[in-house]
């Protein structure tokens, strides 16, 4: 049915809301990146089959629920957050969160919970600290202290359904925005203080305003979904879990800046995001929410999807635009602003997925509501991916200004295997590593930048004492070296040299004065590079030297890697007292360097050992030590 006026929209919404309210119970099955990989779709299939076999009125879409007396909705949703414990199944209104669900559990869930109203204890998540099991989101520490704006619908509603989005108030922000002038919409966004969630933190309203002021009669809106930072998958989750919210944000932007064509640039590695966005765009076109005279207004706007080709540099705005045009994704100098001359040299607004996802709520609830959350200079919330050596790996959203300690030890549940905290890495390859002395830092754009890291897109990688900071610096340099487009010399050749110097240190060939030379070269790369990739590339090196200098010195002076990662200067030894002779390391050793009898202490043959650390990874008794 076409939604061609605000009145039709409200009529349809009223009907859908009633329909939605009539759903007796909903079984939300997570299909986020983690849960999908561990079998979420199979769980969904098994649940639907089991329910129908047992005579329950199970539906997988909203519309057919109308014909049912006691409908149950078995919904595929986007990421529900607690990726560590997937596949997740959330049952409402009971608020029961089942974790680690296998298709084989379907019979029990249907019989005991859905028919018998009983909670299956063994499927509840166990709190790693207290050992207690939490029944639902309300009792699980991971979900406390979070606040959802960009992730409001993700994990809660049917991921592919326009009906579901409309039922929770979708496109009311667009209807509202269309009653206002473009200027008033921009003013609202300016007042909200919304800053670009892709990492730069540039004022969104300000960007829109500059675009409007730029001369030209054709304008473009681009959504940057080329989320390339390793350890970050927030945008993927938003595009997969709540695609209509992103589209609504873009359409509002199109009204504000006067664009007729929009693009979403999606990373090559996210096929499900492409699929769901394609479905969402088609549904919006069919409903008249994209196309000519949207909701009966003068706005004509359409969106196309552009798939990336697996190049990290294409996350850079000017490179991304070149890529959409069908070219090699090389950035250009920024003295020509892309808001003035961007895609096809026309004024262009480019915002990140999460930024667009924040826009609808700002319009419906107002700028004052948004500035009431977060810190004065970084209002609102930020989505993060909490990953690494942490108990609760997952997708979270917290108010800006939340201290790192609360994020890591509260929501994150603390360190994996209780190992000591060493560093948290934010900002991806452009960011830095912060030590425990910075744990009370409030997370916002400016605090992180002052501390020598940056917000970045939102990956938060937690590291323990078995992570070598020199190796981390080498890792990011190797990544950037590979991804540098090669257009400018400081980035192309400077990173190669920087990487060689760090590699030398990892090999135990570092010399006194190396760190000073590295710092000097790093500064030159920062100043001399053309685009953001090169300008920020030395950050992982500089921040680790600043915060973990003694670890670099141990490599250079003592030829020793304290974390036991750098192979050339690491020797493993099995502590005969601690070893129980369990044979785990004997089985795990790739080259077969560990030998020993059951219940006898094992021994590593240094001549065969490749220092890969596999033995230490599998040892449950901490018996593998570095010499």
């Amino acid at each position: 049915m076409r939604i061609d006026t605000p009145n039709t929209l409200e009529t349809i919404r009223t009907r859908l809301k009633k329909l939605d309210a009539g759903v007796k119970r909903r079984v939300l099955v997570c299909s986020g990146p983690g849960c999908a990989a561990s079998g979420g779709f199979k769980v969904h299939e098994a649940l639907v089959k089991e329910m129908r076999d047992k005579g329950l009125e199970a539906e997988v879409e909203l519309a057919p629920c109308l014909e049912r007396k006691d409908p149950l909705l078995v919904a595929i949703t986007g990421c529900q957050g607690l990726c560590q414990s997937g596949p997740l199944v959330h049952i409402l209104p009971d608020d029961i969160l089942y974790t680690g669900v296998k298709p084989a559990h379907a019979a029990d869930i249907v019989e005991k919970t859905l028919k018998g109203g009983e909670v299956i204890e063994k499927l509840l998540v166990k709190d790693p600290k207290s050992g207690e099991r939490g029944k639902g989101r309300a009792d699980i520490p991971f979900y406390k202290g979070q606040k959802y704006i960009a992730l409001e619908g993700c994990g809660r509603i049917l991921a592919e359904s326009l009906d579901a989005y409309l039922a929770v108030g979708g496109f009311s922000a667009l209807a509202e925005a269309l009653t206002r002038t473009p200027d008033a919409v921009i003013t609202e966004v300016e007042k909200s203080g919304l800053r670009g969630r892709g990492g730069g933190g540039y004022g969104t309203g300000r960007k829109w305003r500059s675009c409007v002021k730029a001369p030209g009669d054709e304008r473009f809106v681009i959504c940057n979904g080329d989320e390339g930072d390793p350890g970050a998958f927030m945008d993927c989750c938003i595009m997969e879990g709540d695609p209509y919210r992103v589209l609504e944000g873009m359409i509002i932007c199109a009204h504000a800046v006067g664009a007729r064509q929009g693009y979403i640039y999606v990373r090559n590695e996210y096929p499900r995001a492409v699929k769901r966005l394609t479905l969402a765009i088609e549904a919006c076109r069919a409903a008249g929410l994209l196309g000519e005279r949207i909701l009966g207004s003068g706005l004509t706007f359409d969106i196309r999807i552009s798939r990336g080709g697996g190049a990290f540099v294409c996350g850079e705005s000017t490179a991304l635009m070149r890529s959409i045009e069908g070219n090699v994704g090389e950035p250009r100098a920024k003295y020509i602003h892309s808001v003035e001359r961007g895609l096809y040299n026309k004024p262009t607004v480019l915002n990140n997925v999460e930024t667009f996802a924040c826009v609808p709520s700002i319009i419906t609830r107002g700028a004052a509501w948004f500035t009431g959350i977060g810190t004065p200079k970084s209002p609102g919330t930020k989505a993060f991916c909490l990953v690494g050596k942490i108990r609760n790996t997952g997708l979270i959203e917290v108010p800006m200004g939340t201290p790192l300690r609360e994020v890591i030890f509260g929501i994150g549940g603390g360190m994996l295997d209780d190992r000591p905290f060493k560093a948290v890495q934010t900002g991806g390859p452009s960011g830095g590593c912060l030590p425990d002395s910075q744990l009370d830092l409030p997370v916002d754009f400016d605090a992180l930048t002052r501390a020598g890291s940056m917000m970045g897109s939102g990956g938060m990688i937690i590291m323990d004492d078995r992570t070598c900071m020199v190796d981390v610096a080498r890792y990011f340099l190797a990544f950037l070296l590979e991804e540098s487009c090669g257009k400018c010399v400081p980035c192309r050749e400077g990173l190669r040299q920087l990487h060689a110097m760090i590699e030398n240190i990892c090999q135990g060939k570092g010399k006194a004065g190396d760190l000073e030379r590295i710092e000097r070269l790093a500064r030159n790369i920062k100043v001399g590079s053309l685009c953001g990739l090169g300008k920020s590339a030395p950050n992982p090196v500089l921040s680790t030297i600043k915060n973990f200098r003694e670890e670099y010195e141990a490599h250079i002076r003592d030829k020793r890697c304290p974390a036991g990662v750098c192979r050339a200067i690491t020797t493993f030894r099995i502590d005969a007292e601690a070893c129980t002779g369990c044979m785990l390391c004997v089985k795990a050793c790739p080259p077969g360097a560990v030998t020993g009898e059951r219940k006898q202490p094992h021994v590593i043959d240094e001549a065969i050992c490749t220092r890969c650390g596999a033995c230490r990874m599998v040892c449950k008794y901490d018996a593998v030590k570095t010499v």
């Binding site: 350890g231 990688i461 890792y475 650390g613």
Partner: protein, 152 residues
């Protein structure tokens, strides 16, 4: 050869003639069709879209997703994102090298597997992870990957 020809025709029939902006898209279609970019297909696409062959070649070699050489039946994507790295992806790659005799960027002589080291796939909760075709092998312990691969 005729197989390649037929494939090229299928791809070209879906592409607007003379529209240079769909070049990257077109290459993706070619890669989906053949699992790599045959030189003849790149030439045909360039001609069809009206771009110089040199530009098509530049695009084909710039983006990581494209391969100019045939790849194995199953692609083993070894995630080397930061989380996988600190949780031991290098050991997994070593295990594969030992088991298959090939490393990242290489294909087994029988064309069964191509090993690729890829950037973060967003499955950090399952690190270290290898995607075999569309099957995720998660939380790989040292020495485990070959066994899991054979389980199918």
């Amino acid at each position: 050869m005729s197989e390649v020809k037929g494939g090229i025709e299928r791809v070209l029939s879906r592409l607007p003639k003379g529209d240079a902006s769909v070049l990257v898209h077109a290459m993706q279609d070619v890669q989906t069709e053949f699992n790599y970019l045959p030189a003849d297909a790149v030439k045909a696409v360039a001609e069809h879209l009206g771009v110089p062959f040199s530009k098509a070649y530049a695009v084909a070699t710039f983006y990581k997703a494209f391969s100019l050489t045939p790849r194995g039946k199953t692609i083993l994507k070894c995630c080397t994102g930061t989380t996988c790295h600190i949780r031991g992806s290098s050991v997994v790659i070593e295990d594969l090298r030992k088991g298959l005799g090939v490393g990242p960027g290489e294909t087994t002589p029988d064309m069964a597997y191509t090993v690729e080291a890829v950037n973060c796939v967003g499955a950090c909760a399952l690190a270290p992870v290898v995607i075999a075709g569309d099957r995720y092998m998660a939380n790989l312990k040292p020495g485990e990957v070959m066994k899991r691969l054979k389980e199918g």
